[in-house]
Amino acid sequence: MSSRLQISLVAGILIALGLGLALYKKIELGFPLLPGQRQVVWTLESKISFIPAGGPIEISLALPSSQAGWVVLDDHFASSGFGFTVMASNGDRHAQWTRQSLDRSTTLYYKLQIYRADNVGLGGGPVPDIEPPELTTDRQAAMERVVASLQERSSGSVSFTALLLQQLVQEQMDQDAAFLFGNREESKLAVVMDVLAFAGIPSQRVRGVFLEDGRRRQQINSLVEVFDGKHWTIFDPTTGQPGLPENFFVWRRGGTSVLDVVGGLSSQLEFAIVKNTLPIKTVLFMEQQVGEQPLLDFSIYSLPVEHQGVFKGLLLIPVGALVVVLLRVLIGIRTSGTFMPILIALAFIQATLLTGLIIFLAVVGAGLWIRSYLSHLNLLLVARITAVVIVVILLMAALSIVSYKFGFNQALTVTFLPTIILAWTIERMSILWEEEGGHEVLIQGGGSLLAAVLAYLLMSTALVEHLSFNFPELMISLLGVVLLIGKYTGYRLTELYRFRDLSRPDK
């Protein structure tokens, strides 16, 4: 009995500790317990990397200001060994890192959290002077003809730009335009700006970042903005569509480049992006609290963004594991392995449930069939598993390509299903098939899938996501609960059916 008492005690302490910490965060720090109304908060981590050229180094990064409804919640610089200042001149803020000398390539970080409070446009702004491009004679001639042809077909500067970009996007250019844009030394966007300037249309670049969750090496992008005399109109040069794309974070409107590196080579600016759906209350709360509360300083929010993204997934694993433990110990459902269902559930989160299920069944089914052939060949175990892995990857590639050709982009998410999990599933299921027969494969495979689906449904709930990410200390309580379950010696639900023959109604 003493081990039971010990477990109860330890579990009780763990549960109380986790709940206590969560309650402290709720009551003392005002963390919202329920997700409530939610707000998408993006965390951008900018990485400036360069190779020093010798001599003093000066790096200047234009900092974003709140524009088009975007609000910068919090920003944070990392500048080890550099002199650092933030300079403001006529409304523009620049971060400046300086250093006398440096002998190895270095990365500087700038992290910021942003959200879009209002979905408004950029509004008015100062109109820059037009600087006509300097062109060689042959380009000058081509430019004149291109501009003339566009002006002939357009009614104003907006339709002029739309037409120009449309040509560029659809790649239906006449000879002159092809000649202009064919120059490999200049980016197409630079040529667009030249054409606009040549046509006398005031224009500027709007630099910013396309926000996509989980991107690691996103580059800065430029949109084109033209002034028609009264209003600014913005165009996305990659699509030719007017209007500010919803997921485009405006970093800098007009002006020169975002990053200037003096004394360094191959400088690069890259962004790692993570999307968090946070309750507005949390968002506002974080604005005030970060850096002031020691507990928050040790929270997951203090990690680099890339790792926060990883943790977002990791923190859900215990929830999935709890589902599997409950199903196995209390219900008595047989799954093949403890972690396989969780990993399948994680894959479902990436690929969405229905596509994930279909792809999973298709790949495992086909894999089982091929594996049964391999077993006839009588191979050594390691070779057999390796063969299955290769076949699985081929299947995944084939599925992606075929479905893409048929226009089902979702099938591309097949890559989210971990190859090793698929291969192991196939291997385990086929051994099971040989040893226990297809019936057992159906029971265990079905059990695993059921567990995976239930774990997925729980893990993708807004509340669970919110709690696991904002109150990771609840995991301590979860640990306590699992310890208690580990001491459960009562009957499983399935045993009530299994032992039904023992019931004696007469007695």
Binding site: V329, G332, S375, N378, L379, L380, L381, E427, I431, E434, E435, E436, G437, G486, K487, Y488, T489, G490, Y491, R492, E495, L496, Y497, R498, F499, R500, D501, L502, S503, R504
Partner: protein, 317 residues
């Protein structure tokens, strides 16, 4: 579909899977001793050291290379069994009942040539039949010629007697009869028939297939209620004796009755299944608790068997 309430299960003293794992296997079985029972070769060697009867070992094939020398190893053997050392559920067991020229005749009557026997052995080594596909070792041992009386109750396989032994006391027993549905294997979840056996007399109590009552063997048609196991006392002594040699507090002993040499140990199982309760129509828990009350005093095998008979006769429970 009829279900049983947890209350009734508790009243019947039925042991559930969770309780078996935590209260009995987890508490009574030292993990370090599992290899002794999971590995049939080690079980056999240990049994021989303790003077327990086991099927005679003819040879062991450990490497793929050694498979080539199988012919010499089988020379002069008229009947034999090739089985995986770490196999489970009776898989991968090749039973050869006689030689015909250069060929081998299986228990089912099928004829194999030497190459096919070698391939089967090679499959065993590469782990085709072991748990999780681990590389394995093949052992060649004498074929059991089971008691004529038992052959009435078995189809294409060896009927074995499973005795649950708790701290040296035989607490419950059943005869496991292979059927056509179980493909000659004696595993209940594969469709073998389990016959509950009275600890006192070796007389059959109840029979189940797929957790449901059956009256007669589905293939041979013999009625189970006329079944009385011969050599019953020896079986109990043998099972109880395994306790001293394994040091496991809770295990199942699988015993077969050889026509000539009587009961022999086939294998031991550290995680015996729970279906034996259905075959006996009795829960295990009360019996296990009765043993727990007796445990403080050390007793020898004879005492343990006679105490078990006093306590667990059908009329008593």
């Amino acid at each position: 579909m009829k279900w049983i309430s947890p209350r009734e299960l508790r009243e019947q003293g039925v042991l559930g899977m969770n309780s078996r794992n935590v209260d009995y296997i987890g508490r009574s079985n030292d993990r370090s001793r599992y290899p002794l029972v999971d590995n049939k070769l080690k079980t056999k060697q240990m049994a021989l050291e303790h003077g327990m009867p086991v099927p005679v070992l003819f040879g062991v094939v450990r490497t793929q290379h050694a498979v080539q020398a199988l012919e010499q190893m089988l020379e002069g053997l008229e009947k034999f069994v090739i089985k995986p050392v770490q196999g489970s559920g009776g898989k991968g067991i090749l039973v050869i009942t006689q030689r015909r020229g250069d060929d081998f005749v299986k228990s089912t009557g099928a004829v194999l040539n030497l190459r096919e026997v070698k391939r089967h052995t090679s499959n065993i080594l590469s782990g085709l039949y072991s748990l999780g596909g681990r590389p394995d070792v093949a052992m060649i041992e004498d074929m059991i010629e089971f008691d004529q009386m038992l052959s009435n109750y078995s189809h294409e396989g060896v009927p074995d007697i499973r005795v649950i032994v708790y701290h040296g006391f035989p607490v419950m027993a059943m005869l496991r009869c292979s059927t056509h549905a179980s493909d000659g294997k004696a595993n209940l979840h594969q469709g073998a028939v389990g016959v509950g056996v009275d600890i006192v007399s070796g007389h059959s109590l109840y029979a189940i297939q797929h957790n449901k009552k059956v009256e007669q063997h589905p293939d041979t048609g013999f009625r189970f209620d006329e079944l009385v196991l011969p050599h019953w006392d020896e079986v109990l002594h043998l099972a109880a004796g395994c306790y001293g040699m394994t040091g496991l507090g809770y295990f199942g002993a699988d015993i077969v009755l050889d026509r000539d040499s009587g009961p022999v140990i086939l294998e031991l199982n550290a995680r015996p299944g729970l279906a034996i309760q259905i075959a006996n129509q009795v829960g295990l828990r009360k019996r296990l608790q009765m043993i727990d009350d007796l445990r403080p005093i050390e007793r020898d095998v004879d005492e343990r068997v006679s105490l078990a008979k006093q306590m667990f006769g059908v009329t008593m429970v």
